[in-house]
């Protein structure tokens, strides 16, 4: 299952707002913990190891 890179989120503006709102009242530490939990929840949903490896590769900042 290759990583989907074409738009796939229904209601992108609504999703983005929900994401931002969900952390609006959190301090930096709490938001970072929430992001880590989110990564783990979504990673388990994806499951496929190759897809996860590809996402890790793409997410990491490119070396300059």
């Amino acid at each position: 299952m290759p990583l989907k890179l074409a738009p796939n989120i229904t209601d992108p503006d609504g999703f983005y707002q929900e994401l931002i709102d969900s952390q609006r009242d959190l301090d930096e530490q709490a938001a970072a913990l929430m992001n880590a939990r989110l990564v783990l929840l979504l990673a388990n949903h994806v499951g496929d190891r190759d897809t996860l490896s590809e996402a890790l590769r793409l997410a990491r900042p490119a070396a300059r």
Binding site: A32, L33, A36, R37, V39, L40, L41, N44
Partner: protein, 539 residues
């Protein structure tokens, strides 16, 4: 001081080399009488090889040290006649609980598969284990245990090794065809050979304590991440024999080892953990920093390295002594075949191939556990805490919790000695290169037994169904024992058939260490002979 155990002191005696007797070259000298060296002596003696064991001390281990012994290791000792004694002396456990801060987030059960002779894991203080092994060695005419004989020099010549040995009555030279160095992580022998020992040291310190107490805790392994009694660090509680409990505290890199070792300091930590009314006594305390390292080659000419002298792992997952004993399981039969002239010396290179693979597997697993338990940066700690927080409520996160993974034997996949499948089998635990799984069997006289008890000391052909024709006129490198299911014993429960996918017709070639060398449905005599030759390093 231990109240539950009085260490034996074994008498020093001068060697025959020192008393003027005529001394021939010993077939094998083992350096170090710890669990690995003593197992080496027992395994070689079981194969009819005379062996001398040199140890610089005169007693057994101080403190519980290795503690956990896994099923495969118990099976090796059972092959050597002491598996039942160790399993009975030890504490059996199978439930583990993981706590994060003040609540339990996860409970696991090793759920050992039924129908194996040996349990998944037992806990036994290393001194009890060593004492049992020493007693077995003393009962053998083939084993010469020499206490307070310290190796101070090593010299390899064509065909033999000469060791300089220091004793209370001066030094002498001992000569051997082969030497097995089982002298631990700080092996002097390895240093004398000049072998590199490289890897990763972890920037953390741990306190381990043996605590004597009458506690009502169940026989379980309890592991805490960031507990209220020891904030920011981890802790472990594990039961041993004789009401002794093993407690580990992670201390962090900045801890002062001298200060932390002081009894009043340790007692305060234990009291913090167990509560103000706890009634306990300290038996033994040690501070350690751990590392994962491996020797570059397990064989240096006629010198073979086994156990911690060849590989060092972090303690999570109990892979130190377990992998050392399994090194010997792999090495002893090969050495015997070389000494008997049925295999070329190059067979011993396969000891490196197979056991370096296992060492790397153990190092990988224990490094992963260590990375989970002691996160290296703020981001790793965040993920670790996220996993632990999620594990409480969601099953999906529990497999990510890593407080040490159960030590399982490594399959020698791609070993040059193993013959790949040509026939199809649906038996994932009985692949070529894996140890033969155990199963209950019934003997013709009605007695109950176990498959592994009946495998021969040499190579065994385990046959289900029609017996393959074996060409007796052809040259065979060594004799092959034949074990026929339904003839030599019966598989009443059908467990053997299920584990080996051997319902109607199957033939397994099993090595002297009980590992599967090859398997077929209906092999020809030539196929069997070729697999046997390959297993002995004739290619």
């Amino acid at each position: 001081m231990s109240q539950t155990f009085t260490p034996p002191h074994y008498a020093w005696r001068p060697a025959p080399e020192q008393t003027g007797g005529l001394v021939a070259t010993h077939p094998v000298i083992v350096i170090g009488a710890g669990p690995v060296g003593l197992t080496a002596a027992l395994d070689l003696a079981a194969r009819g090889v005379r062996v001398v064991v040199l140890d610089d001390n005169d007693t057994v281990s101080t403190g519980s040290r290795a503690l956990c012994y896994a099923k495969r290791t118990l099976e090796v000792w059972d092959r050597l006649g002491c598996g039942e004694a160790v399993a009975e002396a030890g504490v059996r456990w199978q439930v583990g609980k993981v706590y994060f801060r003040d609540e339990m987030v996860y409970r696991f059960d090793l759920l050992p598969e039924p129908d194996h002779k040996m349990p998944a894991m037992v806990n036994l203080q290393q001194y009890h284990l060593e004492q049992t092994l020493v007693e077995r060695c003393l009962a053998s005419d083939l084993i010469d245990l020499r206490w307070r004989h310290r190796v101070v020099s090593v010299e390899q010549e064509a065909g033999s090794v000469r060791l300089g040995v220091e004793t209370p009555d001066g030094t002498y030279l001992a000569q051997a065809s082969w030497v097995i160095a089982c002298d631990g992580a700080n092996s002097d022998t390895r240093a004398m050979v000049g072998a590199p020992f490289s890897g990763q040291a972890f920037q953390d310190r741990f306190l381990i304590a043996d605590v004597l107490m009458k506690a009502e805790f169940p026989t379980e392994r309890w592991f805490w991440f960031d507990p209220p009694f020891h904030p920011g660090q981890s802790a472990l509680l594990h039961k041993q024999r004789d009401n002794v409990w093993r407690i580990d505290f992670q201390l962090g890199w900045d801890a002062d080892p001298v200060e932390e070792r002081k009894p009043e300091r340790v007692e305060a930590r234990v009291r913090q953990m167990l509560g103000p009314d706890a009634d306990f006594e300290l038996e033994w305390v040690s501070i350690y920093q751990f590392a994962c390292r491996r020797i570059d080659r397990f064989r240096y000419g006629r010198m073979l390295f086994a156990g911690d002298s060849a590989h060092q792992v972090s303690p999570f997952g109990a892979r130190g002594a377990n992998s050392g004993v399994q090194d010997i399981d792999n090495l002893a039969w090969k050495l015997q075949c070389v000494l008997a002239g049925v295999a070329p010396e190059t067979l011993l290179d396969s000891y490196h191939d197979e056991r370096a693979l296992a060492a790397d597997d153990n190092i990988r697993n224990s490094t992963r556990s260590t990375d989970f338990i002691t996160p290296k940066n703020a981001s790793s700690r965040l993920f670790r805490d996220a996993v632990l927080g999620l594990a409480r409520d969601h099953a999906f996160a529990r497999p990510l919790v890593n407080s040490g993974r159960l030590s399982l034997p490594t399959r020698y996949a791609n070993s040059p000695l193993i013959t790949a499948d040509v026939d199809s089998f649906d038996a994932p635990s009985a692949m070529p290169g894996a140890p033969c799984p155990d199963a209950p069997v019934e003997l013709p006289d009605g007695r109950q037994g176990w498959l592994l008890e009946h495998l021969g000391a040499g190579f065994t052909l385990l046959v289900v169904g029609e017996d393959p024709a074996v060409d007796q006129s052809a040259a065979w490198p060594m004799p092959l024992a034949r074990l026929r299911v339904g003839h030599d014993f019966f598989d009443r429960a059908g467990v053997l058939a299920a584990r080996l996918d051997a319902h109607a017709q199957a033939v397994y070639l099993i090595r002297p260490d009980q590992f599967i060398a090859a398997r077929w449905r209906s092999p020809s005599s030539n196929q069997i002979r070729a697999a046997l030759a390959r297993s002995l390093g004739h290619h």
